[in-house]
Amino acid sequence: MNRTLAAIFVTAALASGPVLAQDAIKIGVTQPLTGAFAASGNYVTEGAKLAEAAINASGGVLGRKIQLIIEDNKSNPTEAVATAEKLISKDKVPVMLGAWSSSLTLAVMPKLMEYGVPMLVETSSSGKITVSGNPWIFRISPTSEMEAKAFAGYVKTLGIKKADFLATNNDFGLGASKEFAEMLKANGAQIGVVETMDPKATDFSAQLAKIKASGGDTLFVTTAVEQATLILKQAKEQQVTARIITTGGSVSPDQLIQQAGDAANGSRHVVFFTPWFPEAVKNPDVAKKFVAAWNAKGLPAGGLTEGFRGWDGLYTIVEGIKLAGKAEPAAIQKALWDVKVKGVNGDIAFIKQGPAGQESAQNVPSVYVVRIDGGKVVKN
């Protein structure tokens, strides 16, 4: 009896094991689900999960379903490396999505070289990522330089004469401050002080006092939404009168209105998706489908400007797998160069960046500027 049972189990295990492994194509996701960037990382992951469900509902890819393997990188570069190692060596994922912040992505990049696995970068904006000669990087988010270029037109319209900076002390913040400062100088504006803060800091009183003393008319803030909320509140307490503009596209205006209240009014934000003005986006039907899926799951509207990154990222990866014809890292890497995807942010396709022969792939996305006025998001 026991032997029969054992035999059944063994047969069952042998039969089901390989079939399951064959069944779904695994895609690794490394995002900050906890720690300083938790809000954004969770929304990006939700966006990717919605895309996973939508893709599987319409038959998956190559006749197989896709399955996300999600790992929390804890907003910590060391942990990010560990998640990549785990996803590649243990789960054997042929392609990854991640890792939100520039410092996290930069930490993961050597692992991609080591194992030869492509990663789709959905949020990071540091210029370093695509010029370091890592051919496994495919970035759909804009670089700080692209953002700064897109913003150049506003320098005259807004009458920016002197700008100060407050940025998180990492690749993202320092990179954006540098690019925006160069762009502003080229457009005739003066640069005041460039202040930095720890990504985990919550009190910016010292920096704001210095910025107030500098007396610029505009303050550029580069950080995640958590710190941006506190900066708006504390700037008001310290009577900093400069207009505040956030860069990086990760400061959700809806979340600011909800959490900073009055202090959010008058601030401007660089965003890459404008759910408030559906007519302004390039692919309205794609955006509508994404927003409908988001709302159907009961997710907060404040997460849309972040969630779309996961959605667009996963659709791009799956298109790459489809073109590759097989779920193997090198084939996917090759195929990703040829993808043309209609995304929420616009049309996704890659151009070459970085040293010849080892180029990284960079998308040229849409960049918008919106303003908060009277507790509502309005066009610049």
Binding site: D198, S205, L230, Q234, Q258
Partner: protein
């Protein structure tokens, strides 16, 4: 000059809560010889209780503050009763490991209950700041400062003037002799841990509405608290109070005039400098050796 005055005012406001955090930790270490890694989590607990009471159940802000502090004391007492009581006599490493475990468990519980997304808490103070000449400060921060000073005063009175405080001080000086004199060491430990925890929860409940509540908020708070305690001398309440203000001043002026990127490094550099010249901290309490 205006910038300097603004830095001083900011440091004063910040120093009050730093002192509050430091006192709770120094009491627990001084009296119980426990390196309390859960201190930061009690701080986060206070903030989340404010969120739960004010934002979820609509309790009045000031009532919620009192309740949050009381709940912090209860949680502290429970931690002592469940974990530390069994470890009395265990060596310091074992206790430390258990406290590290409790820290991780508490932080993950917070994350499980409240998710990793930061929560903001409304406060009833006017949005327009208090303006004094060229400097200004939010009314919510003024309130935090006043309540922090009040709590520090109450704690000082409790330790110096009451019978419980006398028993605590006796336990600090010599646990065995205190026990021989009839002091119930067990109850003193529970009371001390509850008091220290209540102070941490108070700091969190006060600052939660100023900043935001998120699961890892306690880490930075705990790091600061440890720095303050080392700076002021282990077990010393005046030391922790002064240490809190010195740390805040070092951070403000360091960030304002040297480099904001190294704001947190400033405070630790200062600590190294002080410890080089006064290895026991500024105000180390005398205790019987042996």
């Amino acid at each position: 000059m205006d910038q300097f005055l603004q830095h001083l005012l900011n440091a004063l406001m910040l120093g009050g809560t730093y002192a509050l955090l430091g006192i709770g930790l120094t009491l627990i270490f001084g009296i119980m010889r426990v390196v309390n890694f859960t201190h930061g989590e009690l701080y986060a607990f206070g903030a989340y209780m404010m969120y739960a009471l004010v934002m979820r159940t609509g309790v009045n802000f000031f009532v919620a503050l009192v309740l949050a502090i009381a709940l912090g004391a209860l949680l502290g007492a429970a931690l002592e009763f469940v974990l530390l009581r069994r470890l009395r006599g265990a060596d310091i490493d074992t206790t430390m490991l258990v406290m590290i475990g409790a820290w991780i468990a508490l932080q993950n519980t917070e994350q499980l209950v409240w998710t990793g997304v930061a929560k903001s808490i409304d406060n009833p103070f006017p949005a327009a700041p208090l303006v004094i000449g060229a400097v200004s400060v939010g009314w919510n921060r003024v309130f935090v400062f006043v309540v922090a000073l009040l709590l520090i005063g109450i704690t000082y009175f409790l330790i110096q003037k009451t019978k419980l405080g006398k028993a605590m001080r006796a336990t600090f000086q010599d646990r065995d002799t205190a026990a021989l004199m009839g002091v119930q060491i067990g109850s003193i430990h529970t009371a001390t841990f509850a008091l220290g925890s209540a102070l941490a929860a108070a700091a969190g409940a006060l600052l939660g509405p100023v900043f935001v509540a998120y699961p890892s908020m306690g880490d930075m708070a705990a790091a600061k608290a440890f720095a303050i305690v080392i700076l002021g001398g282990l077990g010393s309440i005046p030391g922790a109070t002064l240490g809190g203000f010195i740390l805040a001043l070092a951070e403000e002026l360091g960030a304002g005039y040297i480099s904001s990127g190294y704001r947190d490094a400033m405070s630790f550099l200062l600590i190294i400098a002080i410890l080089v010249f006064k290895p026991t901290g500024l105000f180390a309490q005398k205790e019987r050796i042996g």
